[in-house]
């Protein structure tokens, strides 16, 4: 099933990417190539195979409920483009 130009634009929008017109063509073609390649897997008979959530057969990795000192606030905010009274400042969304 080929990916349409609209679907590529939708995915780009979900990822907050803006694509130039020539990129739309390029990515549509490349994504379709990737999907076509991966779709080889569809040839496998997977009837009776349980879906796998993780490739490593490890379960239940836990930590105990203990408080550990985090980052100090200046360090936490050091990458913030803008800050005010200890908070990250972002463009208003709502």
């Amino acid at each position: 099933m080929a990916l349409t130009r609209d679907e590529v634009l939708h995915v780009a929008n979900l990822a907050r990417l803006s694509l130039a017109p020539e990129e739309i063509e390029l990515f549509t073609r490349q994504l379709n190539d990737i999907l076509a390649y991966v779709s080889k897997l569809q040839e496998l008979d997977t009837a009776g195979v349980e879906p796998l959530a993780h490739v490593i057969p490890v379960f239940n990795v836990f930590r105990e409920d203990a408080v550990r000192e985090g980052l100090d606030r200046d360090a936490a905010l050091s990458n913030a483009p803008a800050r005010e009274e200890g908070a990250f400042v972002v463009p208003r969304i709502i």
């Binding site: 939708h10 979900l14 379960f59 408080v67 606030r73 908070a87 990250f88 972002v90």
Partner: protein
């Protein structure tokens, strides 16, 4: 209904940051909950245990294996660009909660309970187009409890919510504070014309941080949708916010765009496997739950069902009642219960030792019931003990017959007509005499004794 409950763990669900409410912004954060590259989440064992307890307490089937998934969306309260949640394989499914509304029992289905991390808090500037972000809440463990569309009235929705909250408090896994957001709910509501089988288009209501607002928002929404349908218009499926000031729900435009979360299993977290013996040991160690306690209160203390219901519908209330009855065995459970039913808030606020000594003073006749009510209010307001308040206010009950007799005789002398009426058989006049004596003694006469004295003097 979708109910979110903060789990009362000391640390966050995937990192060691503290979870306490009200700390200065961004002082309980680390590389993991800030979503910094290269950091890895590790699941909090206690959060899983708490979630499992809720699953067991709401009769859910716990999935032997469950998986954490990434829910992808962009919003500034979410530093990673996704929320770690559960999707296809939630922790537990197919439970129920029994509720009672106006004497009618109803069973509300629980579709699923899953675990997830909370997002941060945004404070929108009033004057500028910016928001301030506090990530302290990011990563606080949550369970989301999703119900079946089984509720038919706002009252049922509120009872369901109260029932869930009560169980969370009995399990001691959530503080249930709706104002601080430890317990939040979204309600989906639709109308269905009589005779139609499928449910209508629904609105999702948010921002209702008290039981009262839940009820008001649902009632408003029923009116709004009914009017639209009556006018032949369609209901738009959308998210609406409860506006406390305007007393109405308002459309939350903009969030409709692409509910396309592209869930996939989080490769950073390995699946959860809930072994049967783990679950069994949790089940065995569950505390007594509201329904069981209700039955026990009736059996053990001989209380009517109504009393037992009111008492057990709030854990603190039930605990205080039970401690009072156990520590003051000379008080009758029904007497104690009456006080709790009469003023549940005050009685749940004061300690069992205080309520026990207050009720003992009433029982001994030191103060009257009405005086005790006054004292109770003072205890709550000032935190002083009942004896001190009684002394300060001079609130003793006069139980000395000779002192009352003199006053009673004066009242009879001053009211010959009423005295004659009484002697002629109009026993109702007794109320007048006792009332007069109460007035003269400023409420301090022991009413029972006053009755006896007048009967004797007028006999």
């Amino acid at each position: 209904m979708e109910v979110h409950a903060h789990l009362l763990t000391a640390s966050k669900i995937f990192c060691g940051c503290a979870t306490g409410f009200g700390a200065p912004p961004n002082t309980q954060v680390c590389e993991v909950c800030l979503g910094m590259p290269g950091s890895l989440p590790v699941l909090n064992h206690k959060a899983v245990e708490f979630a499992l307890k809720m699953a067991l307490a709401t009769n859910c089937r716990v999935n032997p294996e469950s998986v954490f998934a990434r829910k992808n969306y962009f919003y500034p309260d979410l530093p990673k660009g996704y929320q770690i949640s559960q999707y296809e394989l939630p922790l537990a499914e197919h439970g129920f909660l029994d509720i009672k509304v106006e004497g009618h029992a109803r069973r509300i289905g629980i579709t699923r309970i899953h675990m997830e991390e909370d997002a941060g808090k945004l404070i929108h500037s009033e004057s500028r187009p910016v928001s301030c972000v506090d990530f302290n809440r990011t990563g606080v463990p949550l369970i989301e409890i999703v119900s079946e569309p089984d509720m038919r009235t706002p009252e049922e929705a509120v009872e369901y919510l109260k029932g869930l909250r009560n169980i969370l408090l009995y399990l001691e896994i959530c503080d249930g504070n709706m104002e601080e957001g430890s317990l939040r709910c979204d309600a989906n509501i639709s109308l269905r014309p009589v005779g139609q089988t499928e449910l209508g288009a629904r609105a999702e209501l948010k921002n209702m941080n008290s039981f009262r607002f839940v009820k008001a928002a649902l009632e408003y929404e029923i009116k709004r949708q009914r009017a639209l349908l009556a006018a032949g218009r369609e209901i738009v499926q959308e998210t609406r916010l409860w506006d406390t000031a305007a007393n109405q729900t308002v459309s939350m435009r903009g969030k409709e765009e692409a509910h396309d979360y592209r869930y996939f299993p989080d490769p950073d977290l390995v699946p959860l496997r809930i072994e049967a013996d783990w679950l069994e040991s949790l089940r065995k160690n569950l505390p007594e739950l509201p329904a069981a306690r209700l039955n026990r209160f009736q059996a053990e203390f001989g209380l009517p069902e109504y009393d037992a219901e009111v008492l057990t519908s709030d854990k603190t209330r039930a605990d205080n009642f039970e401690a009072t009855v156990k520590d003051f065995p000379h008080l009758s459970p029904k007497q104690v219960s009456n006080w709790f039913l009469d003023d549940p808030t005050s009685m749940s606020t004061i300690t069992p030792a205080t309520s026990g000594s207050l009720l003992t003073l009433v029982e001994k006749g030191t103060i009257s019931r009405n005086q005790a009510k006054e004292v109770l209010k003072e205890v709550v307001a000032t935190g002083k003990d009942p004896e001190t308040i009684i002394k300060e206010k001079g609130l003793t009950q006069i139980s000395d017959a000779s002192a009352l007799e003199v006053a009673a005789q004066e009242i009879i002398n001053a009211n010959p007509k009423e005295a004659a009426d009484y002697r002629a058989g109009k026993t109702k006049v007794m109320g007048f005499f006792v009332g007069q004596l109460m007035k003269q003694t400023r409420g301090q006469a022991n009413p029972q004794l006053a009755n006896e004295i007048f009967q004797r003097l007028l006999g």
